[in-house]
C-alpha cells in the first residue's frame, strides 16, 4: 500500500503492490504503474539454530574498500578429494599465477592481522594500520625497504593514533625479524609519507608513562589498590625532572609500588613484563629515590615504609 501519482487519474492515489506478479497497481482506475519489480528480500529462509557452515544468505567476506575491487573477486579452489584430473587441479594454479594487483596488499593485510592478533588489538587499530599501509604503498618508493619493518611501523603508528600506544619493544616481539632501529626508521619514513599525502594533519601525541601502566600492571597481576597507587605515582612523577624514557620510569614506579605492598614482585618479573632491562630499572630507581615521598601517594604508604625501601 502506498501513495503514488497515477497518470490516468492525474492525481495522487492509493497504490497496491501485488507480490505475486510484481505489479504496482492504482486502486482507483486499475492502471499498472510498474510491472516486474525485482524482489530484494532474502532468497532462502534461515532459522536461528540451523546456521551450519553453508549459510546461503551471505557469500564471501566483508567488502574491503582498501582493495582495488572491494575484495569481490572469485578464487578457484582445489577440488575436494584427489581428482588427478589435470584440468581441474591446475585451474587453481593458473588463476593464481595471473596478474593480481592486490596480491601484495592482501598478504600485507594478513601479516598485520596476525601481528595484531598476537598483541590482542581491537579491529579498529588493525583497520587503521591497514589504511596507513595502503597510503604508504600507493607511493611506490617504499619497495626497497624492509617490508616487515614497514608493517610493524604501520601497526605502531595505528596504536599511537588511537591513543593506545604500544612500546616499540612490544611491537618488536610480534614482528618477525624487525629490530627496534629498523622499526624506528620505518616509522619516521611513514610519517613523512603521510605528511606528503595528506598535508599536515599527521598528529600523534607524545607517549606518557601513564598510558602503559594499566597494561604492565595487569601483566604482573597486581591488585587494584596497587594499580591505582602506581598510576597516581606516575602522574606525580611527570612534574619532576627525571631524565629517563617514560617506559623506564613506569617500570621503576611499578617496582617501587610492588615493593611497598605485600606482594613484592622481583626485579626480574617487572623487567619481563615491561620489557625494560634490569639495569635500567635500577638506574631509574636511583633517579626516582630522592623524590619518593612526593611521588608515592599518602594513602598508600607512609614515611616509615619508604624508609624500609632499600636505598640505591
Amino acid at each position: 500500500m502506498g501513495d503514488a501519482y497515477c497518470s490516468d487519474c492525474k492525481k495522487s492515489t492509493e497504490v497496491v503492490f501485488d507480490h505475486s506478479a510484481g505489479d504496482t497497481v492504482c486502486s482507483e482506475c486499475g492502471l499498472v504503474l510498474e510491472s516486474h519489480s525485482i524482489d530484494e528480500t532474502s532468497e532462502w529462509r534461515t532459522f536461528a539454530n540451523e546456521s551450519g557452515d553453508n549459510d546461503p544468505v551471505r557469500v564471501g567476506g566483508p567488502t574491503n574498500p582498501l582493495l582495488s575491487d572491494g575484495g569481490l573477486s572469485t578464487v578457484i579452489s582445489k577440488p575436494n578429494g584427489t581428482t588427478s584430473d589435470f584440468l581441474s587441479s591446475s585451474l587453481g594454479r593458473w588463476q593464481n599465477r595471473g596478474s593480481n594487483p592486490d596480491r601484495s596488499l592482501i598478504l600485507a593485510f594478513k601479516t598485520i592481522a596476525t601481528m595484531s592478533d598476537r598483541l590482542g588489538l581491537v579491529a579498529t587499530i588493525k583497520d587503521r594500520a591497514n589504511e596507513i599501509y595502503k597510503k604508504v604503498e600507493d607511493q611506490k618508493s617504499s619497495r626497497g625497504r624492509n617490508q616487515d619493518a614497514i608493517l610493524a611501523a604501520c601497526l605502531y603508528i595505528a596504536c599511537r593514533q588511537e591513543d593506545k600506544p604500544r612500546t616499540v619493544k612490544e611491537i618488536c616481539s610480534v614482528a618477525n625479524g624487525a629490530t627496534k632501529k629498523e622499526i624506528g626508521r620505518a616509522k619516521e619514513y611513514i610519517m613523512k609519507q603521510l605528511e606528503l599525502e595528506m598535508g599536515q594533519s599527521v598528529e600523534i601525541g607524545t607517549i606518557h608513562a601513564g598510558d602503559f601502566m594499566r597494561r604492565f600492571c595487569s601483566n604482573l597481576g597486581m591488585t587494584n589498590q596497587t594499580v591505582k597507587a602506581a598510576q597516581e605515582a606516575v602522574q606525580k612523577s611527570e612534574e619532576f625532572d627525571i631524565r629517563r624514557s617514560p617506559i623506564s620510569i613506569a617500570a621503576a614506579v611499578i617496582y617501587i609500588v610492588t615493593q611497598l605492598s605485600d606482594d613484592k614482585k622481583p626485579l626480574k618479573d617487572v623487567s619481563l613484563a615491561t620489557g625494560v632491562a634490569e639495569g635500567t630499572i635500577r638506574n631509574s630507581y636511583k633517579d626516582l629515590y630522592p623524590h619518593l615521598s612526593k611521588i608515592i601517594p599518602n594513602w598508600y604508604a607512609q614515611e616509615e615504609d619508604l624508609k624500609n625501601l632499600c636505598s640505591p
Partner: protein
C-alpha cells in the same frame, strides 16, 4: 694576554649581537674539495703513513693529520671530504695539507671548489627543558620527539634551514649550517622558545 683580550672582546659583543647571552661554540666543520685528478687508493694507502683503506667496507681512504686534528675521506675520483676542524680557516688549512700529501705521493692534485658543507655547534642553556610541551604547542609541526628512540627532541627550523637537537638537560646541538652566522641566528631565534618551556622545579 692575548687570551684575556679575546675573552673581553667576546663578552662585550655578547648582549648586542647575542641577546640571549649565550654563544654557541662551533664543534665541527665538514668541507669538501675536488683534487681534480684520478687517484690510486691502494697506492696511497700503502705509501702514506696515517691512512686506512678497507675497500670491502668503504670505497675511500681515511687519512688523519695531527695539526689541525682532522680526518679526510679521499675517493678514487679525486674528491675529498675533510672533517673535524673547529674553524673555517683550520678546515681550509687541513684540506690544503691533505692535498699536499697527495701531491707529494706523485698525483697532480689541485685545489678546486673548496666548500664548507656543514657546521655543527653546541651550547648549554643551564636550565631543564620540558620536551613534551613542544609537541602540543604551535612548534609541534617542526619538532620530533620520540623518547623511546632518541632522548633528544629534533627541531627542524625552516629559516635558516637548521636542525636543532634539544635535550632535557638543557644542552643544545645546532647542525646543518653552511655559514657560522646561521648557527648564531638559529640559536637566537630558538632561545625565546626554550625559555618558554623551562621546567620549573617545585
Amino acid at each position: 694576554m692575548g687570551d684575556d683580550q679575546v675573552l673581553e672582546a667576546s663578552q662585550q659583543v655578547d648582549f648586542d649581537n647575542y641577546p640571549s647571552g649565550i654563544v654557541p661554540i662551533i664543534q665541527n666543520i665538514v668541507s669538501t674539495v675536488n683534487l681534480d685528478c684520478k687517484l690510486d687508493l691502494q697506492a696511497i694507502a700503502q705509501k702514506a703513513r696515517n691512512s686506512e683503506y678497507n675497500p670491502k667496507r668503504f670505497a675511500a681512504v681515511m687519512m688523519r693529520i695531527k695539526e689541525p686534528k682532522t680526518t679526510a675521506l679521499i675517493f678514487a675520483s679525486g674528491k675529498m671530504v675533510c672533517t673535524g676542524a673547529k674553524t673555517k680557516q683550520q678546515s681550509k688549512l687541513a684540506a690544503r695539507k691533505y692535498a699536499r700529501i697527495i701531491q707529494k705521493l706523485g698525483f697532480p692534485a689541485k685545489f678546486k671548489n673548496f666548500q664548507i658543507q656543514n657546521i655543527v655547534g653546541s651550547c648549554d642553556v643551564n636550565f631543564s627543558i620540558r620536551l613534551e610541551s613542544f609537541q602540543i604547542s604551535s612548534h609541534g609541526v617542526f619538532s620530533t620527539y620520540e623518547p623511546e628512540l632518541f632522548p633528544g627532541l629534533i627541531y627542524r627550523m625552516k629559516k635558516p634551514k637548521i636542525v636543532i637537537l634539544v635535550f632535557s638537560t638543557g644542552k643544545i646541538v645546532i647542525a646543518g649550517a653552511k655559514v657560522e652566522d646561521e648557527i648564531y641566528e638559529a640559536f637566537e631565534n630558538f632561545f625565546p622558545v626554550l625559555t618558554q618551556y623551562k621546567r620549573v622545579q617545585r
